[in-house]
Amino acid sequence: MTRIAIDPITRIEGHLRIEVEVQDGQVTDAWSSGTMFRGIEMILRDRDPRDAWVFAQRICGVCTTVHALASVRSVEDALGITIPDNARLIRNLIAGSQLVQDHVIHFYHLHALDWVDVTLALKADPGATATLAQSISAYPKSSKTYFKGVQDRLRAFVNTGQLGLFANGYWGHPAYKLPPEANLLGVAHYLEALDWQRDFIRIHAVLGGKNPHPQSYLVGGMATALNLDNEATVNADRLSLLAQLFQRGQDFVAQVYLPDVLAIASFYKDWAKIGAGLGNYMVYGDYPSDVQNDQDTYFFPGGLMLGKDLTSILPVDQQQVAEYVTHSWYTYNEGDGAGLHPWKGETQPNYTGPQPPYEFLNTDRKYSWLKSPRYDGHSVEVGPLSRMLVAYAKGKTYVTQPVNSVLKQLHVDATALFSTLGRVAARAIEAQVMVNQLPVWLAQLEENIGRGDLRIHEVNHWDPSTWPNEGFGWGHHEAPRGSLAHWVHIKGGKIANYQAVVPSTWNAGPRDAQGQRGAYESALIGTPVANPEQPVEILRTVHSFDPCLACAVHVIDPKGREYANIRVV
C-alpha cells in the first residue's frame, strides 16, 4: 500500500491537500484537507449589515460575486425586505453570467489539462484537426491555417525550452487518450477561451462596475441606476452591449464548449464509470422568477436526491443543515461528536495537526480547517451535477432536452451521469441552459424599463432606524460550484453572528462524527492510479468538482466568545 499526499492541488482556487492510499493501482481510501484559514466571518461581527456583502464577497475571487449575493439575501431575509423586480433581474443576470463564465474557465483552464496532452498537439496534422473541428461544430475558426498558426505558436513556445505553466505536467502519461488532432483542438480552444472569458465578463462591468468583485449590490436592491438617456447609467447603449455579449456567450458555449466536452468525453467514456462517490445530491434552488423568492418559480429547482434515485426528489429545508468538527481543527463545547445548525454555530479553533513543515497529516484525528456539513445526517454532493439531476428528475424540459441530447450523442444512459465524466458534462449542459436564459431576463428588464419602471432599490428599509431590533436571516444561492448559504443574526443594527456554508465545504469537507466521508473522499475511492508519482487520475476526479477553497472565520458560542473557523467555497 502506498500513501500519497498531493499538495498543492493546483488549478483550483485556494489551498487543498489530498492524501490517498493506493493499492494494486487503485485508490482505496482518501482524505481531503483545507490548509488555509482567514477569518472573514469573525471580521464581520459588529459591523453594519449593509456592509457585509462587500466583506463576504472577498471569500472568493474566482466565483466572485456569489457571496455578495448570498450576503444581501441573508440580510434582506433577516430584515424582511422585498427587492424590486429590476433588482431581481439584474442579480439574475450578474449571477447567471458568472456561472457561464466560471464553467468555461473551469473546463479549459482548470480542468482540460487533465484530459489534453499539450505536447501531443505538436504531432497533430492541422488539416485533420480542421476536419475534426468542422465535423463537430460550426465555429468559424476552424481552418487548417488557423490550426497551423496555433501549432506554430505552440512549437515556438516549446522550442524556447521555457515551458512556464506547462513545465512538469504529466505529459505522456498513459491515461491521456486523445489523438493528436483532438489535443491540438483543445490547446487552440484553451487559448480562445482565455480571450473569450475576458470579453464575456464585461457584463459584470456594465452591471457591477468591475470584475472581479463587482460593486453594485445593496441591501434592498442594486445600485445599478437605470436611465436609457443618460451616459452615466445603464442606458440603451449598455443594454445593447449586454445583448451582444450574451450572443457571443451563446455562440461560444454552443460552438466551442459543449462540442469540445462531447468530443473529449467520447474518448474517455470509461470515466463515466469512475468517481460517482456518495450518490446523494442536494440543491437549495435559485434564480427566482418573482420578487417573493418563491421556490416553485426557481429556474434551477431545489431538491434532494438520495442513493442515485432519479424517481424521488425530496424537499430541502435549511433547518436540516448541521455542521460537524470531529475531524476538523475545532472543538465544540458539548463535544466533538455534535452537529450544530449554523444559527447556533460554535467554532473554536484547535489546531492539532503537525507543525510545518510536515510530510503527512494524522488523518485518524483532526485533519482539515474545513468543517463537515451534513443534511439531515446525510453526506451530500452539491454542484452542477446535483442541479441538473434534480431538474432532470423534476422534468424541467429546458434541462431534460439538453441532457438527453448529450446522453444520446455519447451513447450512454442516465446512470452515466453519476460519475467524474457526468460532472464535466453536467457543467457544460448547465452553461448552455443558463446562457440561453440570460437574454430572457434581459428582455424582461427592458420591458420593465419600457413601462417606466426604473425602481432598483427598496428605499424604505435603508435606514437602520426602520429595522427590527433583532432578526435572523438566511440567504442562499446556487453558485457555479453548488449550493451556498449565509446565515446572519442581526441585533441592534449590527451583525451579531455571521456564518457561511459554502459549496466546497459540502464537497471537500472531511469525515463527520459517524465517519462518513465527504464527497471528494468518497468519489476518489476506486480511482485508478497508474503511476503514484504522476497522479493525473486523482486530479481528474477532484477537478470534476471544480474545487474552490477559500476561507472565512465564523464566530461566537452562546456565551459570546469569539472563535474562528474556515470555509471552503
Partner: protein, 406 residues
C-alpha cells in the same frame, strides 16, 4: 480573424510570427503601454525592443491567504492579454491557479526556478501572510506561507505584492482577524518590492508594471506606501467624471432617485473617492468598460491600506465616519483618512485619528477649499504616504483604539 490568418501565413514579420501578432498591433500596444505608464510616446520603440528579447524572464506567483481575485484580475488584462504575457513575454513558471502540475511536480517548478534563475526572477505574492501560531493558518505542501515567502522572495530580483492583502494585510488583517495576517513588506522587510494594492488590483496595472520591468529592468517609481505612482498618484475624487456634480452640489440622496438616474455625485451615499488614490477613473475595468462609480455605487477605498476598517461603514458620508462631533469637509477628511495607516483594531475606530488629522490640517493649511482639484501628484503622494503618518504619530492623545502600527 482573416487578417490574423493572413499575417500568420504572410511570412514577412518573421520575428513576430513567433509571437503570432502583427508588427502594427505590436507597436500600437507599445504605445498604449507607454501611455499607461505615463511615459512619452517616444518610449514605445524602446518598449518594443525590450519585448522582442529572446529569453523570457521568469516569474513565480505565490498564493497565500487569498481569494484568487488578483489572479483572476490578471486573467482580465488585455494590453497585453494574459495569453501573450504567459506565452510570449515572461516564463510564468509557478502559479497554483493555472499551472499544469500539482503536488511534488508543482514544487519542482518552483525549486527549479529558484535554482536556475536566482536573483533574476520576479516573485508575485497574492494574499496576506499569517504569522500567528507558527504559520499553521496557511500551509502549502506542508510548509508555512512565511517559510515559502522567505525563500522565494529573498532570492528574487524583485517582488510584486498584488492586491491589498499582500500589500498591507487586507481583509484577514481587519479588526476581528486572529491569524496575524500581514502584507509582504511587514512579513519580510527589506525586499525590493512594489505594492499593487486594490481589491483586487486592476490587471491593467499589473500588465503595465510587468512591461515597465521588461523595458527598463527596474520597477516603476512609487509613493511612500510602495505603490506605483502611475496608478496611485492621483486621487479618485479629483479625476472623477462626476466631480462637476460635486462642485455644483448635485448629490444622489437615495438609491434610484432622480439624481442617481442623472449620474450625480455619490458622496452623500458614502463614496470614498475623496480619500482614495487610484487610477480607476482613467483606466477603468474590463477593457475600460466601466468602474464602480460609473455603475452608480460609491468607491469603497479599496486601494488604501486598512480600508476595511478605515473606510467602513461604507455607506456613511465621509465626514460623519465614526460620528465625529466636528464640522469637516469631504476634502479634509479625505486627506486625513488617506494619511492614516495605523491598524485600527477596535471597533473601526477611525474617529480619533481622523479628528487629529483634521485639527492638524486646519492648523497647518487653514481651511482647504473643498472644491479644489489642483492637487499635484507630489502633494497627493506626500499626504498619502507613511511620512505623513510618521509626522502625525506623535500626537499626544493617542488612544488604545489605534492599536498596533503596521
Amino acid at each position: 480573424m482573416e487578417n490574423h490568418e493572413e499575417i500568420l501565413t504572410d511570412g514577412v514579420w518573421a520575428a513576430l510570427e513567433r509571437r503570432n501578432i502583427s508588427r502594427r498591433s505590436f507597436l500600437r500596444f507599445c504605445s498604449v503601454m507607454a501611455g499607461a505608464l505615463a511615459l512619452p510616446a517616444s518610449y514605445a520603440p524602446r518598449i518594443a525592443r525590450a519585448l522582442e528579447q529572446t529569453r523570457r524572464p521568469a516569474l513565480v506567483w505565490l498564493e497565500f491567504q487569498d481569494c484568487a481575485g488578483n489572479s483572476e484580475s490578471a486573467l482580465r488584462a488585455s494590453h497585453p492579454a494574459f495569453t501573450d504575457i504567459v506565452l510570449d513575454l515572461l516564463s510564468w513558471n509557478y502559479h497554483e491557479l493555472v499551472m499544469a502540475p500539482s503536488g511534488k511536480a508543482a514544487e519542482k517548478s518552483l525549486q527549479d526556478t529558484i535554482a536556475s534563475e536566482r536573483g533574476n526572477y520576479i516573485a508575485v505574492v497574492e494574499g496576506s501572510i499569517p504569522l500567528a501560531e507558527n504559520g499553521v493558518y496557511c500551509t502549502i505542501g506542508g510548509r508555512s506561507a512565511i517559510d515559502i515567502a522567505q525563500e522565494v522572495c529573498t532570492n528574487a530580483y524583485a517582488t510584486i505584492a498584488v492586491g491589498t492583502c499582500a500589500s498591507f494585510g487586507g481583509i484577514p488583517a481587519a479588526a476581528g482577524g486572529v491569524t496575524g495576517a500581514v502584507g509582504v513588506s511587514q512579513a519580510i522587510p527589506g525586499l525590493r518590492l512594489i505594492n499593487l494594492s486594490a481589491c483586487p488590483m486592476n490587471g491593467a496595472n499589473l500588465a503595465a508594471t510587468l512591461v515597465h520591468y521588461l523595458t527598463f529592468k527596474e520597477l516603476p517609481a512609487t509613493d511612500n506606501l510602495g505603490r506605483p505612482l502611475f496608478a496611485h498618484g492621483d486621487r479618485i475624487h479629483d479625476d472623477c467624471p462626476r466631480r462637476a456634480h460635486y462642485d455644483a452640489g448635485q448629490f444622489v440622496q437615495e438609491w434610484g432617485d432622480e439624481g442617481h438616474r442623472q449620474g450625480w455625485c455619490l458622496y452623500k451615499m458614502g463614496c470614498k473617492g475623496p480619500a482614495t488614490n487610484y487610477n480607476c477613473p482613467h483606466i477603468q475595468w474590463n477593457d475600460g468598460t466601466n468602474w464602480p462609480i460609473g455603475v452608480g455605487h460609491g468607491c469603497v477605498g479599496c486601494a488604501q491600506p486598512q480600508f476595511w476598517d478605515t473606510m467602513s461603514p461604507f455607506y456613511h458620508t465621509l465626514p460623519n465616519v465614526g460620528g465625529f462631533g466636528i464640522e469637516a469637509t469631504a476634502e479634509e477628511v479625505g486627506i486625513a483618512v488617506v494619511a492614516t495607516v495605523a491598524t485600527l483594531t477596535a471597533a473601526h475606530a477611525v474617529g480619533t485619528v481622523v479628528k487629529k488629522q483634521i485639527a492638524k490640517n486646519k492648523a497647518k493649511q487653514g481651511q482647504p477649499d473643498p472644491a479644489a482639484s489642483g492637487t499635484t501628484t507630489a502633494t497627493t503622494t506626500s499626504v498619502s504616504g507613511l511620512s505623513a503618518e510618521g509626522q502625525e504619530a506623535s500626537q499626544p492623545e493617542t488612544s488604545n483604539e489605534e492599536g498596533t502600527s503596521v
